[in-house]
Structure formats: structure tokens, C-alpha cells
């Protein structure tokens, strides 16, 4: 490692790197396009004005999603480090925010893997429609064997085995490294995801009743635009779907060549994510339209989101649809592809941080992070109470973990570290879209204010009534407990000293990029 100390600009190279801009963009799309694109966006759009929702959604993309994505890219690309190292290189006082994000990613990884395991199992179930005529009873009673909300250590073998397989696959991918593991996974899985989901959408569009489903999704309710809840939903959807604010894009952008057009890349990634959400909306509501017609009810009565959409509504639809098994394999296979590329990105945030801090080899860091994560995941989420713990942790860590960390990071970067103008200058060196004063105003004032508003709304909602009626002790332990745990972890981890040969200044401060070069644009 001595060479790193002699030439700090090589630090990025020693950490591993994507071989090209194309691989980086595919990996970033793989991270952004996840389960939420498929099972959250369609219902959120339907519930919040239908076709009219597209307007606040586009406004949210332009004023919050893309600016925040650019901020993450700028942080990682300029500092060429994991989230904690990038924050530390920006301002030593902000390192804890990076570790807070690392803690959030660890929490997400342990439960996200379980959902992928369910989707993996349902891909197989689709072949002979194992769920029978009552998919809801099958999901909770036969498959998950869930009893009343609580905590048990009674293992469900049908969940344990696919979950162990998911973790083995992830650990192999992570051990292979940035290019041969993460990059190769994205290069293979993203085209597969587009092909599988594209085929699903085409099949769904030819089902009887599909047009009724699309009509329900796209019929505009213009009066919804006057409701603040609709605008908050649009900002929330864009924020949660883009994988911004919790270290993933910081980490990935630190693996890209220093002369890469990061602003142009961000535009492609952001619009790919939203473009896929639109495709998912069309596919899901075409299928729901068929299901409504087959059941003789309105589309609104079968529309749902999340686990209910994926593991209850879709199996019900598959039971009725011609060639339903094919639809099932394509749908659940798509969830597996989308989920795996996202899970890989989440766990890489943790591995990258551990590698930077302790100078571990990739294999050692993969084992140090992956084995505990896999064990916790198997212990908590392969049991009969796994679905309840998962639901609670997911709800709290998304809203009061990711969202809170995002708001705090933007405010601190803009008003404490005063780093935004420097980050804009860095992005403008090779970026095709110049970041001017408009971007500085957005990420310093407007985006944090808008996201803070969404955060406060969520807090008020949770204060009014216990989430999903779960027992207070479960919400306290697994919900608020997770939120507090990642903050405490962030504070403690930031107290650990960096190794002596880890430079805590941005590489381009030591060797300025663009010095003596002509700008390519």
C-alpha cells in the first residue's frame, strides 16, 4: 500500500474500477431499478391522480431526483472514495454521515435479500401455480407460515434455502470485485431484465381487459394537482426509486474514470430509472385490467402495491391468464434480476467503506461484511415472523433512515462544509451538461426543503397511528430501534482513525484534473 501514499491519485485504481462508462451506467441503472419500480410506482401513480401524476413526477425528477443524483456523483467522483471517505475528504466533520449511510445499507441488505428469495421461490411456483386458488392464504399460511405479529425463531425451510442461495450468489459476486463481479452482473442482468419485463408487458397488453387497466392508470384527475399529498408522493417516489442519498451512487461513481462525463451519465441513469417505472406501470396495470375483468370488478378493487401486488395479486391474475405460467416466470424472474443488482449495490457501500477504512483485501472485506449480514438475514428473515420484522424495518429505515440522512447530508454539505460550488466545478470539468447556479440553489435550498417536507409528513403520519397496527414494542424495537442504531453506528464508526497512508484530501486537490488540458466539449 505504500505506493498509495506516494501517489494518492492512484487510490481509485487500487480500490477497483469499472472498465468503461457503459459498465458504470449499467451498474447504476441496476442499482436504481429495483423492486420499488415494479411494485410501488404503478400504484402510487394510480392513487395520486393517475395520468395527472406524471406532471408532479416529472417536476420531482427535475428539481430533486436528478440534482441529488448529481450531488452523489460529484461527491464520489471527486473524492474517489466510499461514502465515509468521500464525506471525510470533503470535510472531516461530516464523516459520520457517510457511516450513517453505511449502516442504513447494511440494514437494507439483510431484509432485501429475503424478498429476492421469495421472488426466486415464486419463479419456480409459477410453473405449476403452486399457490392454488387462494394465493393470499398460500403466501401467509403455507409459504411464510406467518402467525400473529411477534418474534419467533421457528425456521421456515422453504425460505431458508432460497435465502441462503441468494447470499451465496451475492458473496461470490462481491468477492469477484468491481468489474468482474458488480460490473459483469449488471452487464448480464440488466439486458435480461429489460427482455423479460418487455416480454411480460407485451403479453399483458394483449390480455382482455388490458385497456381498462391502462385507462385506470392514465386517466388524469386534474384536481389531484391541488393536493400537497400528491406532490409529496411524487417527490417520495422519485427519491426512493433513484437510490440516492444512501451512499450507493457515491460508491459507484468513485469507480469511474476521472475524465468521464458524469452529468451526461446521470441524465441517462435518472431517465432510465423513470423510463422503466413507466414500462412497469403499463405492464402491471394491463395485467390488473385483465384480472379485474376476469373477476367482474373495477380495476380499483384489484389494484395494490408492494408484497400484496407481487405475491397475491399477480398470482391471482396468473391463475386466470392464458399462458399464465410464462407470465409468472417473466414477472418473478424480473423481480429477481432487479433485486439482485440492487442488493449488490447496497452491500457494496458497506464493503467499500470497510475496505477504505481498514485497508482490507476485497475477499477479506466481503467476508467481514457479507457473512455477518447473511447470518443476521437468515436468523431474522427465514423464520415465521420474518415478514413482520421485514415490513417494519423497511418502513422505518426508508423513511426515517434514508430520507433523514439525505436531508441532513444536503444541509451539511451546503451550509456547514460549503462544498457545493467546488463539487459543481469538478463536475463541469468533463460534464456535457454544465452545472450552474441553478444546481447550487436546488441542492442547497429547494431539494432539502422539499424532502424535509416529505419527511415531516411521514413523521406526522406515523405519530398519528401505529404503522399497520403492529404492537408498540415491535415498532419500538425493530422500527425506531433500527433508525437509532444506524445513527449511533455512524457516530461511533467516524471516531475510528483512518490508516496513516489514507490521504484525507480529494485526489484532484493533489493533482488537479484538467490542468493544462482542453475541455472536450
Amino acid at each position: 500500500m505504500s505506493s498509495q501514499a506516494e501517489n494518492p491519485t492512484d487510490v481509485g485504481a487500487h480500490r477497483g474500477a469499472f472498465s468503461s462508462r457503459r459498465v458504470f451506467i449499467l451498474a447504476a441503472i441496476g442499482s436504481a431499478v429495483g423492486l420499488g419500480n415494479v411494485w410501488r410506482f404503478p400504484y402510487v401513480a394510480y392513487e395520486n391522480g393517475g395520468g395527472a401524476f406524471i406532471l408532479p413526477y416529472i417536476v420531482a425528477l427535475i428539481t430533486a431526483g436528478l440534482p441529488f443524483l448529481l450531488l452523489d456523483y460529484a461527491l464520489g467522483h471527486r473524492n474517489r472514495g466510499s461514502a465515509p471517505l468521500s464525506f471525510a475528504r470533503t470535510d472531516r466533520r461530516t464523516e459520520g454521515i457517510g457511516w450513517w449511510q453505511v449502516g442504513i445499507c447494511f440494514m437494507i441488505a439483510v431484509y432485501y435479500a429475503a424478498v429476492i428469495a421469495w421472488a426466486l421461490r415464486y419463479t419456480v411456483f409459477s410453473v405449476d401455480r403452486s399457490w392454488g386458488s387462494d394465493p393470499e392464504t398460500f403466501l401467509f399460511s403455507s409459504f411464510l407460515q406467518a402467525g400473529d405479529p411477534g418474534v419467533t425463531l421457528s425456521v421456515v425451510i422453504g425460505v431458508l434455502v432460497p435465502l441462503a442461495l441468494v447470499w451465496i450468489a451475492v458473496l461470490v459476486i462481491m468477492a469477484l470485485g468491481v468489474e468482474k463481479g458488480i460490473g459483469a452482473t449488471a452487464v448480464v442482468f440488466i439486458p435480461l431484465l429489460i427482455l423479460a419485463f418487455g416480454a411480460l408487458v407485451i403479453r399483458a397488453l394483449f390480455l382482455p381487459g388490458a385497456s381498462a387497466g391502462l385507462n385506470a392508470l392514465f386517466s388524469p384527475n386534474w384536481s389531484a394537482l391541488t393536493q400537497t399529498s400528491v406532490w409529496a408522493a411524487a417527490f417520495g417516489q422519485i427519491f426512493f426509486s433513484l437510490s440516492v442519498g444512501f451512499g450507493i451512487m457515491i460508491t459507484y461513481s468513485s469507480y469511474v474514470g476521472r475524465r468521464t462525463d458524469m452529468t451526461g451519465s446521470a441524465l441517462v441513469v435518472g431517465l432510465s430509472n423513470s423510463g422503466f417505472e413507466l414500462l412497469a406501470g403499463i405492464g402491471v396495470f394491463a395485467a390488473l385490467g385483465f384480472m379485474a375483468q376476469a373477476s367482474g370488478v373495477a380495476v380499483g378493487e384489484v389494484a395494490s402495491e408492494g408484497l400484496g401486488l407481487a405475491f397475491v395479486a399477480f398470482p391471482t391474475m396468473i391463475n386466470e391468464a392464458p399462458a399464465g405460467a410464462v407470465i409468472g416466470v417473466l414477472f418473478f424472474g424480473s423481480l429477481v434480476f432487479a433485486g439482485l443488482t440492487s442488493l449488490v449495490s447496497v452491500i457494496e457501500v458497506v464493503i467499500s467503506a470497510v475496505r477504505d477504512k481498514f485497508e482490507l483485501t476485497r475477499l477479506a472485506a466481503t467476508l467481514a461484511v457479507g457473512v455477518p449480514a447473511a447470518v443476521i438475514s437468515l436468523v431474522f428473515f427465514s423464520t415465521t415472523s420474518g415478514v413482520y420484522v421485514l415490513d417494519i424495518v423497511d418502513h422505518f429505515i426508508n423513511r426515517f433512515g434514508i430520507l433523514a440522512a439525505a436531508v441532513v447530508s444536503m444541509i451539511v454539505l451546503a451550509w456547514v462544509a460549503r462544498a457545493i460550488p467546488g463539487l459543481a466545478r469538478h463536475m463541469n470539468l468533463y460534464g456535457s451538461i454544465p452545472l450552474g447556479r441553478w444546481w447550487i440553489v436546488l441542492v442547497s435550498v429547494i431539494t432539502p426543503l422539499l424532502l424535509a417536507y416529505v419527511l415531516v409528513r411521514e413523521l406526522i403520519e406515523d405519530a398519528r397511528a401505529p404503522y399497520e397496527g403492529y404492537p408498540a414494542w415491535m415498532l419500538t424495537v425493530f422500527g425506531w430501534g433500527s433508525v437509532v442504531a444506524v445513527i449511533v453506528f455512524g457516530l461511533l464508526a467516524s471516531r475510528v482513525r483512518w490508516r496513516e497512508n489514507t490521504p484525507l484530501v480529494a485526489p484532484d486537490e493533489l493533482e488537479p484534473l484538467g490542468a493544462g488540458e482542453e475541455s472536450p466539449s
Partner: protein, 42 residues
């Protein structure tokens, strides 16, 4: 489908998918700076 629903679907497609096409065109049809040598996955 109602006319309004069709128009909103086309509008969403034009903005998001058309925007993606333009973004890809912008990224690929632009002279890029030479990349430095990178060691991979050490």
C-alpha cells in the same frame, strides 16, 4: 381507453422515453477526453 388517458400515456412516453433517447444521444455523440490507465480489481 379515453382520449385523455391515451394523451397522458403518450405524453409520459414522449417525456421519459424520448428524454432517455436524447440523453443517450448526448452522451454518445460527444468527443470524450482520453481515459487514464486504470488497474482493475486489485
Amino acid at each position: 381507453m379515453s382520449t385523455a388517458a391515451i394523451l397522458m400515456m403518450l405524453f409520459a412516453m414522449a417525456v421519459l422515453w424520448g428524454g432517455l433517447g436524447l440523453a443517450i444521444y448526448n452522451l454518445t455523440h460527444r468527443s470524450s477526453a482520453p481515459e487514464e490507465h486504470y488497474q482493475r480489481d486489485l
